[in-house]
């Protein structure tokens, strides 16, 4: 799966064209799969890096499966919110490729810092997709173990996780875990709106100055809730990186292959001690900011339709069909699996137990605290003062 491997099997690839820029007419966009599903052999980024991927057919199908599953589970969560079973949900609809592409580019030892929308990355990290639903149902704090999955907890505060990631990455470097193929890299997710935050700019400064093994992965979905991109920046976001002294690249965030290639390259640079970089995954939030939002109030239907034509799953499916990597039976099987997993997710969400009140004291300190132990005992006595043993 490494890039630039000339010996990879030719099947599933178009007769190799010359290396060329993307066909979208935007020379600044790294793209390996056009919206119509045409495969581009390789593409050269603004800094001269050549991006390409060489996947086996099985790997191509795997990526498609990821995209479909992630979208289906997200849709199920949105439905659950509409049915009164979740307090709120931030849908990733339209951003599946950016998340699956970057999520699959992570190596086992790499650490990810998500926002509250990275359900696709979470899925790729092997975390049970029900975990964030517990958070949004209000029955837990979204408390998976970040160390176990190398995936930090969802961060609601806009951009705050970029600072956490920077500190973590500085620690990785200080621990001497960079500089080899097995080095550790860190990725920080955030959106276009977050780039206006002080936190993100501070993170850029620190990561740049300390040459931290960190990839800033910005999913530019065009809207900071209702504010369009032109209210965030006067230059393409990826070019901001130059001012902080590290490379930036814009990738087609609806192209899972290009996203994979660009992210893998940036992570490898980081793990080899070559410092941070910024990836701007150019994508579109097809749905609302969250279930509490109504995007029809601030954007027009024709814009959504234009992006509908760039759908990440449709282009992957067209590619798989065109290259005969997958047949109708495969697509049916994937859809069926997605349906099954969605039903399973629904049933498990509905059966989620409410937390015991005193679990709020868990995980506050790694080794406990006398003050907190006292409070817990006090709280337990209070609960026991009620009739009926359960509380």
């Amino acid at each position: 799966m490494a890039k630039g491997d000339p010996g990879a099997p030719a099947r599933g690839r178009r007769a190799a064209p010359r290396s060329r820029k993307a066909t979208t007419g935007d020379p600044e966009l790294v793209q390996l799969l056009t919206p119509s599903g045409e495969r581009i052999e390789s593409v050269t980024g603004p800094d001269g890096t050549e991006y390409r991927v060489d996947f086996t057919d099985e790997e191509y199908r795997g990526l498609y499966r990821d995209l479909v599953l992630v979208r289906k589970l997200d849709a199920e969560a949105t439905a659950l919110q509409r049915q009164g079973e979740l307090g709120i949900w931030a849908s990733l609809l339209g951003q599946e490729a950016a998340q699956v592409g970057s999520g699959r580019a992570l190596r086992t030892q790499d650490m990810a810092f998500p926002t509250y929308r990275e359900h696709g990355v979470l899925y790729c990290r092997g975390i049970d997709p029900i975990m964030p639903l517990g958070l949004f149902r209000g029955v837990d704090q979204g408390g998976w173990d970040p160390n176990e999955f190398k995936f930090n907890m969802y961060t609601i505060v806009i951009g705050a996780q970029t600072l956490h990631a920077t500190g973590y990455a500085m620690g990785v470097a200080m621990d001497g875990k960079t500089g080899t193929d097995d080095g550790e890299a860190v990725i920080a997710y955030f959106g276009d709106g977050a780039t206006s935050q002080g936190d993100v700019n501070e993170a850029f400064v620190w990561a740049g100055v300390f040459n931290s093994p960190l990839v800033f992965f910005c999913q530019n979905n065009q809207y900071a809730i209702s504010e369009p991109l032109e209210r965030q920046t006067r230059i393409p976001l990826y070019r901001r990186a130059a001012g902080f002294g590290f490379p930036g690249v814009r990738v087609d965030g609806n192209d899972v292959l290009a996203t994979y290639a660009v992210t893998r390259h940036a992570l490898d640079n980081a793990r080899h001690g070559q410092g941070p970089s910024l990836i701007e995954a150019y994508t579109y939030r097809m749905g609302a900011h969250t279930t509490s939002d109504d995007p029809t109030r601030y954007r027009i239907a024709s814009e959504v339709e234009a992006w509908q034509a760039k759908d990440p799953i449709a282009r992957m499916k067209a590619f798989l069909e065109r290259e005969k990597i997958a047949d109708a039976g495969f697509f049916t099987e994937v859809d069926e699996q997605a349906r099954r997993e969605a039903v399973d997710l629904r049933e498990r969400v509905l059966a989620m137990p409410n937390p015991e009140p005193d679990t709020m004291f868990d995980h506050v300190y790694p080794n406990g605290s006398p003050l907190l132990d006292e409070q817990r005992a006090q709280f337990s006595r209070y609960l026991e003062s009620f009739e009926g043993s359960a509380h």
Binding site: A79, S292, D294, A390
Partner: protein, 492 residues
């Protein structure tokens, strides 16, 4: 669970209370799949489609397009097993224009959290373990009508908040006075004279409205969730009174309008009803004894004049009632048992004196009290009384001000009468009537002279207070009023 499931409008966006049905995407009889869009709803935040929660057949649609529906209200019924034959209550095929009502059980489930076990745990709107209701998601605050579970230990302080008597044991005797805690003032009884009908459920704005309209919440039957009293209940109760030409007040001189039978029927409610209940309860449970004492208060009135002349008292409203109150408080200190209440098998003597002042207001008789009046200086007492009277006249006396009284003065003198035989407020063991102060012939220093004279009437509960104690107490009050300076010097 029934195969017919009703879907309640959820809170679609963090704290919304209602939504407007924009369009139904299905109709009765349609077979629908799980997550198939069924209805478009516009909330304050967004217009959204709601996907079906269950697959099945649409059994009924409860609200037409264009209607605004409260969060938590059933909007559609779905037969989740349409292949299993006809349903018992046949609403199948009912056109959407003929809107059926949701089942009572479903509505009840909205108002009050169902009992534990009735719904699968974890379902929203269903119970959390222990009777709590899951409110973080789902139907929002409407489901929080869950009742609080009772506490295990009921310590005396926490017991029976509306009961007039804290159950503190006491030996009857002048030497032993056991302080009892002041009653919780948050008890929402309208009259503090020991109504023990339990707390009244009503939201704060409704309480405010009731107070403004002079409606006694305790007399209403609530139609809201868990029997709580709604705004409409209060307005309904207030409406007839407002419409009638004669307001229900104690003012008997109001122009009465008589019907053809030359009789007028005044509904008994509000303050009138409460007063009636309290007075008859007290009159027929506590054996009353009333004693009278006529006193020459000339010196006291002169003392008042001197007080008014002092610079620091210039802006203070000083009335004869102030001296009566001071007299009562000082006499209580000498005879603590007078400030007590009967609790069946024990007598509760109170160290604190919550001094009630009966006040005639437009709403009728109310008896607000000055909390812990025994600890106040004369100046503080004067301020508290002024405040109390003004609040009462403005109709702003709060239930807390009226609850927990321990001893009461009724100033019948302001009506121009000499005295009376007052009835004890329930839970109190003594009440003093203060008559009019008149210039009358009085034997003073061996000669008949015009003197300022008044008559005191003390009613007391003979279960607690015998004639001797009652007489001594009344005598002390009289002594103070006859010569306040000497009494102060002698007693304090």
């Amino acid at each position: 669970m029934s195969r017919i499931k009703e879907f309640n409008l959820p809170d679609l966006g963090e704290g919304l209370t209602e939504g407007e049905i924009l369009a139904w995407l299905v109709k009765v009889g349609d077979t629908i799949e799980l997550n198939q869009p069924i209805v478009e709803v516009e909330t304050a935040k967004a217009a959204v489609e709601i996907p079906a929660k269950w697959a099945g057949q649409v059994q009924a649609i409860f609200h037409p397009e264009g209607s605004t529906v409260e969060v938590g209200t059933p909007i559609i019924a779905i037969d989740t097993d349409p292949g299993a034959g006809p349903v018992e209550q046949s609403t199948t095929g009912a056109p959407t224009t003929d809107l059926p009502a949701p089942s009572a059980a479903s509505l009840a489930a909205v108002e009050v959290a169902p009992t534990e076990g009735a719904v699968e745990p974890g379902l929203i709107g269903g119970p959390a373990p222990g009777g709590r209701t899951a409110v973080l998601v789902g139907y929002g605050p409407r489901t929080t009508a869950a009742k609080r579970r009772p506490r295990k230990d009921t310590t005396p302080a926490a017991a029976a908040p509306a009961a007039p008597v804290p159950a503190a044991p006491v030996q009857v005797g002048p030497a032993r006075v056991v302080p009892a805690p002041v009653q919780p003032t948050s008890v929402p009884t309208v009259n503090g004279n020991g109504r023990s009908s339990g707390p009244v459920l009503a939201k704060p704005p409704v309480r405010k409205l009731a107070k403004d309209l002079g409606v006694d919440l305790g007399t209403l039957t609530g139609s809201g969730p868990s029997g709580s009293i709604t705004r409409e209940d209060v307005q309904r109760a207030a409406a007839p009174a407002a419409a009638e030409p004669v307001a229900v007040t104690t003012s008997a001189s109001s122009a009465a309008s008589f019907g053809a039978d030359r009789e007028q029927r005044i509904p008994v409610k509000g303050v009138r009803k409460l007063t009636a209940e309290n007075m008859s309860r007290s009159a027929f449970t506590a054996p009353h004894v009333t004693e009278f004492l006529t006193v020459d208060v000339t010196r006291a009135m002169k003392a008042l004049d001197r007080l008014r002349g002092r610079r620091e008292w210039r802006d203070v409203r000083v009335s004869p009632l102030l001296l009566v109150a001071k007299a009562v408080l000082l006499a209580v200190r000498r005879h603590p048992l007078v400030n007590s209440s009967w609790a069946g098998d024990e007598i509760v003597v109170k160290e604190y004196v919550n001094l009630g002042i009966a006040a005639a207001t437009e709403r009728g008789l109310i008896v607000p009290n000055i909390k812990d009046a025994g600890r106040l200086t004369l100046r503080e007492l004067a301020d508290a009384m002024t405040d109390l009277v003004q609040t009462a006249k403005a109709g702003k006396t709060s239930p807390a001000d009226m609850s927990g009284g321990t001893l009461t003065i009724t100033n019948v003198g302001v009506f121009g009468v000499d005295t009376g035989t007052p009835i004890l407020p329930p839970g109190e063991s003594a009440i003093l009537a203060f008559g009019a102060v008149r210039e009358q012939p009085w034997v003073h220093k061996g000669k008949v002279k015009p003197r300022l004279v008044t008559t005191l009437g003390l009613s007391f509960d003979h279960r607690i207070i015998d004639g001797e104690l009652g007489s001594k107490f009344l005598r002390d009050v009289g002594d103070f009023l006859a010569d306040p300076e000497a009494a102060l010097l002698a007693w304090t």
